[in-house]
């Protein structure tokens, strides 16, 4: 069913909070810190904006690993957002592990706006971990990636 590991490149999704982690990622950029290009970043106002539906849908749409990143507890721009993230994420991660998703596929990290280096390190290590782990066998079993009929998605369609 899944592509052989040789020609497979890990696809990662990162939900980055706008005030800290996204800014940290930008800092890694302005400091020209190099890291693998496997991460697709989705910006959210706060890490507490991330719903479990997004994480599960991402895994199902071909992501081999999902990162949720936010400000260090106490530094949240909205003061309490990441406290809720911390509670929700621990419950959803244990639940997914229980239901058979490898725990290393879903991770959370506190990355401040001043920690460009940490963002580079988290992404690099995450790509390596997922490369070892192999593709996420979460896609529908009959092999082809589910693509709704063209008319049902007139507005978007599929490019690659």
């Amino acid at each position: 069913m899944n592509k052989s590991k040789r020609d497979w490149e890990p696809r990662l999704v990162g939900f980055l909070c706008n005030w800290c982690s996204y800014a940290g990622a930008d800092l890694a950029g302005t400091s020209r810190m190099q890291y693998p290009p496997n991460m697709r970043v989705i910006r959210v106002p706060c890490s507490s904006r991330v719903r479990p539906e997004f994480i599960l849908r991402a895994l199902q749409k071909g992501a081999d690993g999902v990162l949720v990143a936010g400000c260090h507890p106490g530094d949240c721009h909205y003061t309490t957002g990441n406290y809720y993230t911390r509670r929700r994420f621990q419950v959803i991660k244990r639940l997914l592990t229980f239901l058979g998703v490898d725990p290393r596929r879903v991770m959370a990290s506190w990355i401040s706006a001043a920690e460009g280096g940490k963002y580079q390190q988290v992404v690099t290590e995450f790509v390596e971990t997922i490369r070892e782990l192999g593709p996420c066998d979460f896609r529908p079993t009959n092999g082809q990636i589910f693509v709704p009929a063209a008319d049902e998605r007139t507005d978007l369609g599929v490019v690659s």
């Binding site: 479990p52 539906e53 599960l56 849908r57 199902q60 507890p73 106490g74 309490t80 406290y83 809720y84 911390r86 509670r87 929700r88 994420f89 621990q90 419950v91 959803i92 244990r94 639940l95 997914l96 592990t97 229980f98 239901l99 058979g100 998703v101 490898d102 725990p103 991770m107 959370a108 990290s109 506190w110 988290v122 066998d137 979460f138 896609r139 529908p140 079993t141 589910f146 709704p148």
Partner: protein, 292 residues
């Protein structure tokens, strides 16, 4: 000597006669179905139809939710309903009250002391490990409180620990097999006191939360999200597993989440205290922090 059932009927009759309540929601025996079914008694003389014995398995709490939805669309002047509850049902009522779907004065809780329902030599899992023989919340209590009852071990929790012990691939195939049988009939949602959404995201047309296919993966997403939505609020009443036509062990998932939450945030059981706060909408600055 008078049985609980007699006391129940007498209580219902007086409540209705004195007009303290508009309706008493209890169980009645349905001959053709050979099953005890929910019964809405509105006239005092019908109180004698109410029964109480081991056949009263169905939890009546969710019906309060449905009544409220219909009632609010029909009745305006304040109505008050009495409901007959076992320990686990009472936790369901607390759930509905704490989720602000009902005002406290809209419901009168008649608690009955229960030693377990269903088939005596094959009790449902929830009865075998039940700690709430006496409903944690009630206005009236029928039956004497048992002397002291030691807290039984939890076979369900042991089962969860066992599953946790397997390696990831085995767990994945275990659940994939169960979820491949799920019809998405949503019975588990209909009987759940914690599922009080007006429109469930899985029915939503506007926002494409999920696809309508019932593959093992889609069903896994449904069950993971359902378990998360009720996380910290599930009162472990076991109705979802009982109602599931395909025999999917939903209580194993609920027990897993409930024990995780208890361990992570050291909070009491859900649906026991009328002042409880759902743990996932609160925080402590000192919460555990496994993050990198």
């Amino acid at each position: 000597m008078t049985t609980i059932q007699d006391e129940l009927r007498e209580t219902a009759r007086t409540l209705l006669a004195e007009g303290q309540v508009d309706c008493v929601l209890g169980w009645a025996w349905e001959e053709e179905l050979q099953r005890a079914v929910p019964c809405f008694v509105r006239a005092a003389e019908d109180a004698k139809r109410l029964i109480w014995d081991e056949r009263c398995v169905v939890s009546l709490a969710p019906f309060l939710l449905h009544m409220k939805r219909q009632l609010s669309s029909v009745r305006t002047e304040p109505s008050r309903t009495a409901i007959v509850v076992k320990g686990c049902d009472a936790r369901g009522v607390v759930r509905i009250l704490r989720d602000q779907q009902l005002e406290r004065d809209e419901v009168l809780i008649i608690g009955v002391v229960c030693q377990g329902v269903g088939d005596p030599d094959n009790r449902p899992a929830k009865c075998r490990e039940c700690q709430y023989h006496v409903p944690p919340v009630y206005d009236l209590l029928l039956g004497e409180e048992p002397k002291e009852t030691q807290t039984p071990s939890s076979p369900l929790l042991e089962r969860v620990r066992e599953i946790e012990g397997w390696d990831v691939a085995d767990r994945a195939s275990y659940w994939r097999e169960h979820f491949s049988r799920c019809l998405r009939c949503y019975a588990c949602r209909q009987v759940c006191p914690a599922c009080n959404c007006v429109e469930c995201i899985f029915d939503s047309e506007r926002t494409r939360w999920t696809y309508k296919r019932t593959t093992a993966e889609e069903n896994m997403i449904f069950h993971a999200i359902r378990a998360f939505h009720v996380a910290g609020r599930c009162v472990e009443c076991g109705e979802c597993e009982r109602a599931c036509p395909m025999g999917i062990p939903l209580m194993e998932i609920n027990k897993k989440v409930a024990s995780d939450i208890k361990e992570l945030f050291s909070v009491p059981d859900a649906g026991v205290d009328l002042r409880e706060e759902p743990p996932l909408v609160r925080y402590e600055t000192g919460d555990l922090d496994h993050f990198v």
